[in-house]
Amino acid sequence: MDYRKRLFTHRKLYDHTGTETLFVKAAKCNVAFHRKHCSEYAVILADRRFRFKQMKTIDDLYKIPVLPTLYFKSHRIHSIPEKKMLIKATSSGTKGKKSHIGFDAKGLFYGAFMVLRTASFHKLFSLKPVNYILLGYKPDKNNHTVISKTAFGATFFAPAIRRTYALKPSPEGYQLDLLGLKKALLRYSRQPVPVRLIGFPSYLYFFLTELKKAGLQLHLPKSSMVLLGGGWKQFYTEKVEKDVLYALIEEVLGIKEYNVKEFFGAVEHPIIYCDCKNHHFHVPVYSRVIIRDVNTLLPVENGKVGLVNFLTPMVESMPLTSVMTDDLGILHDGKECGCGLTAPYFEILGRVGVTDIKTCAAGAAELLGGAQS
């Protein structure tokens, strides 16, 4: 029985109760596959004394040994030959080291179901052609960051007339072309078709602040949208609250808050999370989220802060079944949101150590280096 297929073709996107048993079975199969095909993972399972018979219910998922994203930055492990991986991607490498992740054909096929179901549920599809402004990297043969690939992928939710990029490759590296972006936006604002702005919230904020300073107040055509993703990364010190950003979007672009969608994803955990109308990331059926105690790494109850552990049986290319990012977060009961979805939702509070790290070796180096990353 292909439990992975059943999970990824499940019709209800946020049906946690209806998929609990299925998820556990799919996760067990996925772990078994990686144990058989990835010797390093098999050693980790043995060292952590993992036993399949311990995995009975959804509450046992935490027993699957978790791999931190940090691990993938210094170890290239896989369960299928690298040459068989269809898409290879890297993390953005904000702190220097990057994870190199590859995906198997079947995993990508199921991923396509997930994208279709998510985009359809959140009403991202449109047959009406649109002009795109991408506040990120222009795809380039030298750029394998997952964010550039997903941003490009998002331009297929509605047929593209034109795509304009904020960061363009040049012999000196990527250059921020704010002037070009401004010209394109002004041109698009005079056309009758919707505009979609896609990219990092930091770049959007900086761009809109510039436009506001220049006294621009646009009214982009109806059903124009803003699709955000990728977080604030090295610009964390300049991060603004969501409502400030949404107010600025409405003020400068004339796009209402309900047409601003935010995505969450990590290259080591290829599940797409799209925010609800209250801007919360509910967990779809394809994954589960566990928040772990910062000392013991044991699961904490909902509402408590801890390390964020994502689980999904989506890929067979690499043992990404249970990964832990270097973020601190909280998992909330779905019903606390009020949007109508009952699946739990998570909140990312920020990177571990980021706000209070002060070391001799990393201090100034990191602050200065941040400008180049």
Binding site: P65, Y71, E238, G353, A364, A365, L367, G369
Partner: protein
């Protein structure tokens, strides 16, 4: 905030201040040289105010957040005192630092004159790992007679500004010698404008910081680098005492292992891994016991530490490592002899390094070595310290005193005032 001519301005004003910066600096350069005695008097007054508790609210707050310890405050007060700074000045630049030396060079008929002069303008890019370091960097620049432009580290915005404003209030002449900007490091254009005005850039930080600064500076700007140094302890069986190990534990915990002089790990004079394991067991209980005297770290730091340790655990067997877990501290016994940065906050590594291999193993880290805390028998001290210094270390101390601050001490083997001055001839 930014500080110009003793006046605090909003950070947004940077674009109106920077275009006139060079003009203002040239105006100051036309004036007679700044007397170090003026600087010393102002610092002494500042130290007295701190001692009398004028800034106790702020300092208590910093102590409360465990950013500084009361002992560190006492040390800083001592460093700012008149006698300390005079001692520093004379040790680093000589007793005749302000005198013109005249003499006839060998083979010549006519005398020439030599004197010590400031480089002119220093642009300090300070690191945030020690509170007060940016201020101390500026004071060293002032002692040498320089005009100082300080770019504050992101983590220190108020403490340095307060101290420098107070210094100017106590000696208003210093106003035109101190410029402070809270510019972000990624504002390359602003950083370049500041760098353009400077004769030298003083950079505190690691290789990445230095490389970034090199990109900022024009070829005629000198770069004075401080930092990215590592320190460790070297222990022999003869030196082992509970008291000394407790001193080492307190040193690690009080500095949080964040300073260049903080102990990152311990090399044991042995070639037996079993001796390393025995030491780990013994030291872990001492370290854990000592940690009860220090406040717990923040949740963010704890999470980072747990992640790093867990990640290390995953590959410990393959990497030939054994992790000794305590209540709050952890020690990693490792079979290699690499000098590494620890996970800090009461987490260190222990490795075997027989004395015969000190030079062959450590010389590759030349330029990165700073303090070695040496714990050995009295009869071993001379030969071991000589060997460690030859390997590249610049300071040997007892294990509990690795981060001590002494008057007239070198910094990474150099006298800062010598680097901030030049010898001119006429």
């Amino acid at each position: 905030m930014i500080l110009i001519n003793g006046v605090m301005l909003d950070s947004q004003k940077i674009n109106t201040v920077l275009p006139t910066l060079e003009k203002q600096i040239c105006r100051t350069l036309q004036k007679p040289l700044l007397s170090p005695l003026l600087v010393i008097e102002a610092c002494d007054k500042l130290a007295q105010l701190v001692e009398r508790g004028t800034y106790s609210d702020l300092i208590d707050q910093l102590c409360l957040e465990s950013q500084v310890s009361p002992e560190q405050v006492t040390q800083v007060i001592r460093m700012f005192r008149k006698e300390s700074l005079l001692y520093k000045l004379k040790t680093e630049l000589g007793s005749n630092y302000d005198k013109v030396q005249s003499g006839t060079p060998l083979y010549e008929k006519h005398p020439i004159h030599k004197r010590i002069m400031p480089l002119g303008v220093l642009f300090h890019i300070a690191a945030g790992n020690v509170d007060g370091l940016p201020v101390y960097s500026v004071i060293e620049g002032l002692l040498a007679g320089n005009i100082n432009i300080l770019k504050l580290p992101a983590v220190d915005q108020s403490f340095s500004l307060l101290l420098l404003t107070e210094l100017i209030r106590l000696e208003p002449i210093l106003a035109e010698y101190i410029y402070v900007f809270d510019t972000l490091s990624n504002d390359i254009a602003a950083m370049q404008r500041m760098a353009k005005c400077a004769d030298a850039i003083v950079v505190w930080g690691g290789d990445t910081a230095t490389l970034s600064v090199r990109r900022l500076a024009t070829p005629n700007t000198r770069i004075i680098e401080w930092g990215h140094k590592m320190s460790f302890a070297y222990i022999t069986e003869k030196g082992l005492t509970e008291e000394a190990l407790a001193g080492l534990a307190h040193h690690m915990l009080s500095t949080k292992q964040l300073l260049c002089s903080s102990c990152q790990g311990i090399f044991i004079d042995t070639d037996r891994i079993t001796a390393v394991h025995q030491f780990c067991e013994r030291f872990l209980s001492i370290l854990d016991h000592a940690s009860e005297n220090y406040p717990p770290i923040t949740i963010g730091m704890q999470a980072q530490l747990t992640l790093l340790l867990y990640n290390q655990e995953l590959t410990a067997r393959a990497d030939n490592k054994r992790i000794y877990k305590g209540k709050r501290c952890n020690i990693t016994a490792s079979a290699d002899q690499k000098l590494e940065v620890s996970f800090a906050h009461g987490n260190c590594w222990v490795k075997a390094l027989p004395r015969e291999n000190i030079l062959s193993r450590l010389h590759r880290y030349k330029g990165y070595l700073q303090t070695v805390g040496l714990l050995c028998g009295n009869d071993e001290w001379e030969v071991l310290s000589e060997r460690l210094l030859r390997a590249g270390a610049t300071r040997i101390t007892p294990v509990g005193d690795m981060s001590r601050m002494l008057c007239g001490e070198t910094h990474d083997g150099d006298y800062p005032l010598r680097r901030y001055t030049k010898i001119v001839e006429y």
